[in-house]
Structure formats: structure tokens, C-alpha cells
Amino acid sequence: MKKHIFTILILIITLAVIAGCGSKQIPVIGISQFGEHPSLDNCREGFLQGLAEAGLKEDKDFSTDYQNAGFDPAIASQIAQNFSSANVTLMCAIATPSATACFAAAEDKDIPVVFTAITDPVRAKLDSGNITGTSDKLAVDEQLELIRKLQPDAKTIGILYTTSEPNSVSAIEEYNEKAANYGFTIEAIGVVQQSEVTLAVDTLISKKVDCLSNLTDNNVVGVLASVLEKTNEAKIPVYGSEVEQMKIGCVAGAGIDYIKLGKQTGAIAAKILKGEAKASEIPYEVISEYSIYINSAALAKMGISVPLEVSQKAIEATNS
């Protein structure tokens, strides 16, 4: 009997050895992405483009090990440990939970971590140590200005957010601070889990908000399609925070191009790989370029006409 148990154990260990071994000649970048959604996928794509632009070729100058945690923090932590054990040269962490997990796992070996798609690295305590990256700080001013131009009579903006996401909490603070400058009041509703988002939308609609504005809240963005179903029926326009949201049906938004953000991140990683600088010496970068995206079809449905000054600068968000 005992033999059988050991057979199983040996089988498992052998499998792990086969999996764990491999040629480790060139630097390995462990990419840990918290889950699959378009913005995060764009970050990863941009990251690889950024490395390529810096003259590093995949499979020649570096290889990648891409892992995805499927939005499970426990898996994110195992992925990070896997990278640490495999002695990867650098970890690229996409979204906050993956970054925290990587940073914790890299502690012992001091493997550099480059993060992206984190709104507030200071609040997430990822601003010191052998870590750097890019922050996707929301363009709150630009967004408020845009809403004012498109809806000159609007008074209240509804926002949905997850109370446990540090990124969202700091974004709400910023909205509350700045809304008055543009003559708005903010009606924010916090949820604790994704299943509550659609309920919260109903509440916002019943409070007769003039429009909704999105953060980059993972729970909210994840069910954006069903949010839009409800708001379209109630004729309430929803403003997005990223180009992918406009593609789904948000009317407009001042947003980040995550591909660009990823590229910026890739450039930082390239510097570290080439030995030009250490992660601890590079301060994290906040993306400074925002674009105005519009979805003309969605705007027309809401009966919003776009003033010339907006349409001149705006980029049409279409699925191409």
C-alpha cells in the first residue's frame, strides 16, 4: 500500500522536474497577469512591443513565461512563487494583486519586478524596493471636462466601485475633490463583489443621475455589458475610462491606451535587462498622455451631439 503512495508522489515529482527543467540560457521574463480582460491583455501585448522597440528580440535576447491567475489571488501567489523558484531574471506583473504577489515572492532573491496597470502604487505600497513600473492613473480632470462639454446641463455623475480595490477608492477621492470645479456632484456606490454591480446600477438609475462614469474597477468593467443594457434602457449615458469600454458601448471617455502603457513598461524592463539601471533606481512612471475616445453610434442613441472642439480631437472607438 505504502508503495502506491510513493509511486504517486514520485510520479508527481517527476512531472514537476520535467516541467521545471528547460534551457535557461537567455534571460527569462515571468509575466504574471491577474486575469484575462481586454485592458490587461493590451498591457501585455504593449509590454512585448516595448521590449521589441528597445531592440530586444523574443527567443533570442529573452524568453517569456506567461501565466494568468484567472482573478484568483491564491493562484497569483503560486505563480509568483513559481517564478521566484525558477529564478526568472525579471517579473512583469499586470494589475495590483499580481504585483503584490510577485513583490512578496521576489523578496528573498531580490528579483526585479516591473508592474503595470496599477492606479496608485503608493497606496499599494509598491513604490520602494527593487520594483518599478507604470501607473494607469485615471484622467479625472479630462473626463470631467469632457462630460461637461457633451452634457452641458448635467448635474450628478454616478460612479460604481469596489470598496476593497485601493485603486478605486483613491479614484473616488479624486473625483469627489474635483467634481465641484466642473459643477458636478458625485453619487458613488460601493460594492463588495461583482454580483452586486448590476443591483447598484439600478440604485443609481433610480437616483436619477445624469450619467455614469467608469473607473478601471475590475469588478465593474467585468460586467460592463450588463451595466450598459440597463443604462441604455434608462437613457443614461455611460462614460468609459479606457478605449475597450467605448468599443463595448460607452459613449465617450478620456482614457488610457493600454498598449501605450504596456510599451512604456516594456521600455523600462528593457533598461533593466540591458543592465542600464536597476529597478530600485527607476521611479515608477505615470502615463501622461490621454486620448479622447468616442463611440458615435452610442452617442447618437443617447441624443448627444458632439461639439466640434471635441470631435476634432477625438478618436472613434470601433472594433477593427
Partner: protein, 298 residues
């Protein structure tokens, strides 16, 4: 080989830390026959309390005791709801678990991260004085191993006491306990208290290990616990000398190893859970085969 050894060490460490949770589920599910869902709430509670205390500069080892205490309290609440208010076992756990989700967020504020400058149980004295020359992953292994074995011994000793024997009797034979003129409700509450204290302790150590608390870290922990208990007890069913606690500890390690293999094989992310499920099934089937083999020999 060094790479592989590191991977084994960190995976086994994970298994050991989560084994404390498995002990808890073992007590409620296997011994008391009580499907306790409080676990999904008491596990992150241990982490939430730990995260707050650590950021406030508390002695890291003190957080272990505090976690045990708050965990025990949640077990007490579920127990009282079930026994005194007559709410069904499953529902009693659901009520406490749901309330704990809010309580955890109230305690921690939001998801919390513990800075590297803050010492954890793996980097404070006396762990440093004793094993300071070892690298962090080995310190993590030693400390986790120590705690997991310590609580295993305490539990094994407890099961031999009068109270421990009564606990086992409630799950096996309800009427016997009543005929002994003992209050089975009280025994159930004791079981829930011990179970959730261990679960919260596991959450506490996970928080030390990952330097983070997240409100969703409890989701699915009951399922994890049940899986490890079933894997462990199935594998060692016929080996009487292997104690239940040892069996579930190994179950927990095997579970984490399964996931690590799935990750290491570089399988597509979306298939990860499926592969994990397949590995469980393989372990369980092997366990069954092993039993069959025994019968043939006997």
C-alpha cells in the same frame, strides 16, 4: 536542481500553511459531520486582523494568538446560531460567513499590503536568531513546518481527552452522547470554535507569507479544505497508523503540488482549474485502486 528544489520547498510550505485550515475542516466535516461554511469568512478574518496589527507595529508572533482568538469567536457565533437559534448547520455557516465579509473589510479598510520593512513571523526574532543564516524560503518552510506539526500534536493529544472523544462521538453516534447525559450542542460548539481558530490561524500565516490581505482571499477555501480532507483520508484510509491530521496535512500538500504542476507545465490559464480537477480525480482513483488491491491480498 536548485531551481527545482526551491519550487518544491515553496510549494510544500504553501501546503503546510494551508494544512492548518485543513485541520479545521477535518474537525467539522469529518469528525463532527458539520458542513461549516464559516471558513470562507474566518480565513480572511485571520489575515485582516494580522495585516492591521502588523502595520500598527505589533509583535508578529502575537498576531498568531490574536488570529486564533478571533477565529474561535467566529466558530462560537456559528455554533450559537446553529445550536441556540436552531438554524440549520449549512445556513448558520452561511450567515456568519456573509457577515464576516463586511467585518473583514471594516477591520482592514480595504485590501492591505504589508511593507517589506515590517517584520513577519519569518523575519523577526527568534526565527532570525535561530535560522537567520538560511534563505527566506527555508525559514518559511521551517516556521510553517513547526507550527503545522505543533498544532497537529496538540490536536492529536486533544482527541484523546474526554472532550476530544465526545467530539468524535457526536459525529459518529449522536444518541450515544445524549445517553451519556452530555449536551451535544455544547460539543458541536467546541468543535466549531477549535476548527475556526485553526482556519483563522492559517489565514494569519498566509498574510505573513504573502504580505497582503485581500477581501476575496477566503473565496473557495471551504472547497479547498474539503478537497484536502477527502484526498488525505482517501489515500490513507487503510493505514490505521496514519492519523487523520497527518492525512489531511499530506492532502493539503498534494493539492498545492497539483496546482503547481499545472502552472509549471505551462498549461493555458483557462485550463488550470480543469487540470487541477483531473489531478484530484487521479489521486482519488489511485486511492480506490489501492484499497481494491488490499482486499485482493487479504
Amino acid at each position: 536542481m536548485g531551481v527545482f528544489l526551491d519550487l518544491v520547498v515553496s510549494t510544500v510550505t504553501q501546503g503546510l500553511i494551508y494544512a492548518l485550515l485543513s485541520y479545521g475542516v477535518f474537525i467539522t466535516y469529518k469528525i463532527l459531520d458539520f458542513p461549516d461554511l464559516t471558513v470562507d469568512g474566518s480565513f480572511p478574518l485571520g489575515a485582516a486582523v494580522t495585516a492591521v496589527l502588523l502595520t500598527k507595529g505589533f509583535n508578529p508572533y502575537l498576531t498568531l494568538a490574536v488570529a486564533l482568538l478571533v477565529g474561535a469567536l467566529t466558530g462560537l457565533i456559528t455554533g450559537l446560531i446553529h445550536v441556540k437559534l436552531g438554524v440549520r448547520d449549512l445556513l448558520a455557516g452561511i450567515i456568519t460567513m456573509t457577515a464576516l465579509f463586511s467585518i473583514n473589510l471594516q477591520i482592514a479598510g480595504s485590501n492591505l499590503i504589508i511593507e517589506r520593512t515590517v517584520n513577519t513571523i519569518f523575519s523577526a526574532e527568534p526565527a532570525m536568531a535561530l535560522f537567520g543564516n538560511l534563505s527566506l524560503i527555508y525559514r518559511k518552510l521551517i516556521v510553517s513546518l513547526f507550527l503545522t506539526i505543533l498544532f497537529k500534536i496538540i490536536l492529536d493529544l486533544y482527541f484523546k481527552t474526554k472532550s476530544g472523544l465526545l467530539l468524535r462521538a457526536v459525529g459518529d453516534n449522536n444518541t450515544l452522547v445524549t445517553s451519556l447525559a452530555k449536551d451535544k450542542g455544547k460539543v458541536k460548539i467546541i468543535g466549531l470554535v477549535i476548527s475556526n481558530a485553526l482556519v483563522a490561524l492559517s489565514g494569519c500565516i498566509v498574510c505573513h507569507e504573502q504580505r497582503a490581505f485581500s477581501s476575496t482571499m477566503g473565496t473557495g477555501q471551504v472547497v479547498f479544505g474539503l478537497a484536502t480532507v477527502i484526498i488525505g483520508t482517501t489515500l490513507f484510509k487503510k493505514l490505521n497508523f496514519v492519523k487523520g491530521t497527518t492525512a489531511v496535512m499530506i492532502g493539503s500538500i498534494l493539492y498545492k503540488v497539483s496546482i503547481q504542476i499545472a502552472i509549471s507545465l505551462g498549461l493555458p490559464a483557462n485550463l488550470l482549474k480543469f487540470i487541477t480537477a483531473a489531478l484530484f480525480l487521479a489521486i482519488l482513483v489511485l486511492g480506490k485502486l489501492q484499497k481494491g488491491g488490499v482486499k485482493k491480498n487479504a
